[in-house]
Amino acid sequence: MSITVTPLETFRTEDPYPFCPGCGHGSVLDSLNEALVMMELDPAEVVIVSDIGCAGLSDQYFTTSAFHGLHGRSTTYATGIKLRRPDLTVVVIMGDGGTGIGGTHLINAARRNVGISVIVMNNFNFGMTGGQHSTTTPEGSITSTTPGGNLEHPLDICGTVGVNGAGYVYRGTSFDKDLPQRMVDAIRHPGFALLDVWDLCTAYFVPKNKLGRKGLDTTMEGLGLDAGVLFEREVAEYTEAYREAASRMGKRHAPVTIPIEYESGIDEPLSIVAAGSAGARVRSAARLVGLAGIRSGLWVTQRDDFPVTVKAGHSVSQLVLSPEEIPPVGVSVPDVLVLLSEDGLKKVGEMLEGMGPDQLVVALPEFAQVETKARVELIDPKGWTSRVPKAQFGLALLAAAVVRTGMFPPEALRAAAGGPFEAENVNAIDAGLGLAG
């Protein structure tokens, strides 16, 4: 079976453009129309993503699909559209204003090489809002916000996206005869493509700066900027690379359920706080105790407190083990406090103060003098028969606390200790259990 597709003669609606007389935007859009006609695309499969400003009005004059969003963010919508539907042709139209407020999006889309094409209608000022200067206004130019002449250096859009990896980059003017063909090349390029098309804002920039068609070329020369195709390179298109990489990623992470195999020895909630240093596996040791509690039919919550730097400062884990289901609530006075380092001690001063003879502190020998009314049990790693790395002291001391409180049988803790550090964990647990017994 063969399908005959009648190529469209135009992708324009019947409405005339809304631009001022002589405005360059219209002829850039005419070129885009020609390019789309040449490519014989289905208008439903083309999405014109328009930015803001006069340039942002463009989508309404095409019969294609359209997305008109927020100022500067057009590249992000185009990226999302393309990531979901790589088969669609996605063309962004933005003004020079968009390259300023949305500069980071342009750079990052270029870097990623998402297969979208960006047409910048660059008229050196914000047309829609009254001719204010933009990132591309040449030095010395008069605009409504640079009455004494612009003091800022203009942005080299092409250079910026070009050096950051863009697949195809072109600079020209709205008067270029080959603009439609360059647009075709840009759209056909698999990677990120950008056309920086200089044009005239006849309402503001032209009268203020006596700029005409020739002036576009001389300004370009004066700034030392080249015209034509500036970058054209083979690149890995992002959405394709993404799907390739995803296909090698395997299966979705499955939930890890915990069987109840042991019996707990407590009939009231019991709280344990482990206070140590960040980076010393305090949280993972507490987690193992939690898992062992769950294996013994208890309901466990674990709240961790640590600084944003993760590997420096304190790390304090609060565990509550309860025969009944409980919400995560704060522990102010724990039943057991496991004290592992100075960093930890600094965070639990108030807890120590609140604790009494019914509560237990399990600590390394250097904390023999700690001020508290709680019972203090010192555990000296020197007495352990096997060598336990410092990062496992937390687990060893927690194991000692398990035996002291009888919250669940020690086997539950050994059973919970699986995973990549199993041997090391069991060694630490056994050291703690032996000493506490």
Binding site: D59, Q60, R73, T76, Y77, G80, I107, T257, I258, P259
Partner: protein, 367 residues
């Protein structure tokens, strides 16, 4: 069977089970876990997960992907919601189904990244210009984090609007024990799509049109500007009025479809404690402790923050003479309760020191 699981994992699982196929986010504590788990798991289900160059790019990608057929979610914390602000407006205006997770941390500004807070509850409601309604759900347990995430996807499709899932550092990052039977099941509706015809309908004003997606055979127009039913920009007062009324009425006139509360009422109680999010735990614990001691007490945990569940709250306050509202902020939600309960005494517990409110604090206020 039980699990030792945090809210982050439950949210990601809820999203994936609800059919989430696109995620983009920017790292921020305490929401980064959602980004990392999405980057790990979403590609394996055929979806796409992206780390954007910032929050604005991330939510922009989500909106673009949704229009191309994805069911999208993004996640951040207060500072990122600030950057989402303008795009939230775009999603409201363009009627984009989108799930936005706010894992609250202490603000303002960078605040305290690893400190719990409930300071965003009004911010997410009024987070963009114009004052138009949004929907916000707030889990109070890890199991709720799962099914309310799925529910957020369902409501986003039902109303074609952004739906917030408002959680916090404590629920997202603390491990709790969950019996797998507690996750519950939510039926998440399929997206209604249409090809051809106008992508919006304003009459009757509360009706929602099926979503028109790109690349389905007919051109689709989308705009964040004030538009007619065909998504062409207009300033015509009757059309603008119809559009704006529609954006309000489609949610406000169907509030009953959103209302979600967990009410534990005792008709003989003269006091009702109302909480939400992580504070819901203290509410439930206070209620059971009080009852165990022989004093009747009623509790209401609000799961749908916005629109505020006026019907359920109205029913819960029948016969009570006093309402206690504990919050990890300066009484931000209490003022809404005060607005709807008339003469009943409303007492707040406002805590902004980074600690959780304990059940004992609630009981102390009740006396």
């Amino acid at each position: 069977m039980r699990e030792f699981i945090d809210g982050t994992t439950a949210i990601v699982r809820g999203a994936l089970d609800a059919g989430c196929s696109f995620f983009a986010g920017y790292p921020i504590t305490p929401a980064s876990g959602i980004l990392m788990q999405m980057m790990r798991d979403l590609p394996k289900t055929g979806g796409v997960a992206m780390q954007g160059e910032d929050e604005i790019a991330s939510i922009g990608m989500c909106i673009g992907a949704t229009l191309s057929g994805a069911r999208a979610m993004t996640a951040t914390s207060g500072p990122g919601i600030s950057l989402y602000s303008e795009s939230i407006g775009l999603a409201i205006m363009g009627e984009v189904p989108l799930v936005i997770v706010d894992v609250q941390r202490m603000g303002p500004s960078t605040g305290a990244a690893t400190t719990v807070s409930q300071g965003d509850v009004q911010f997410i409601r009024w987070g963009t210009g114009g004052g138009f309604p949004v929907i916000a759900l707030s889990p109070s347990t890890v199991a709720e984090s799962y099914w309310l995430t799925a529910k957020a996807f369902d409501l986003a499709e039902r109303f074609r609007c952004p739906v917030f899932l408002v959680t916090d550092k404590e629920l997202a990052m603390s491990l709790t024990t969950v019996d797998v039977s507690a996750y519950g099941e939510v039926s998440v509706r399929d997206r209604e799509t249409a090809v051809g015809g106008p992508p919006h309908t304003y009459q009757p004003s509360d009706q929602v049109t099926a979503l028109h997606e790109y690349g389905q055979g007919e051109p689709v127009r989308f705009t964040g500007s004030t538009h007619d039913e065909n998504a062409y920009i207009t300033k015509s007062p009757p059309v603008v009025n119809a559009l704006n009324r529609h954006l309000i009425d489609k949610i406000e006139e169907h509030r009953d479809e959103v209302e979600l509360v967990d009410a534990d009422l005792d008709p003989s109680a003269d006091t009702l404690v109302i909480g939400y999010g992580v504070t819901g735990g203290a509410v439930r614990a206070a209620v059971s402790t009080s009852r165990a001691a022989g004093t009747p007490l009623s509790g209401l945990v609000v799961q749908s923050l916005w629109p505020i569940p006026e019907t359920a709250i109205g029913e819960a306050v029948q016969g009570v003479t006093r309402i206690v509202v504990p919050e990890l902020n300066v009484g931000l939600y209490r003022r809404e309760i005060e607005r709807i309960v008339g003469d009943i005494d409303v007492i707040g517990i406002e805590q902004i020191d980074g600690d959780l409110i304990s059940p004992e604090q609630v009981l102390e206020v009740i006396g």
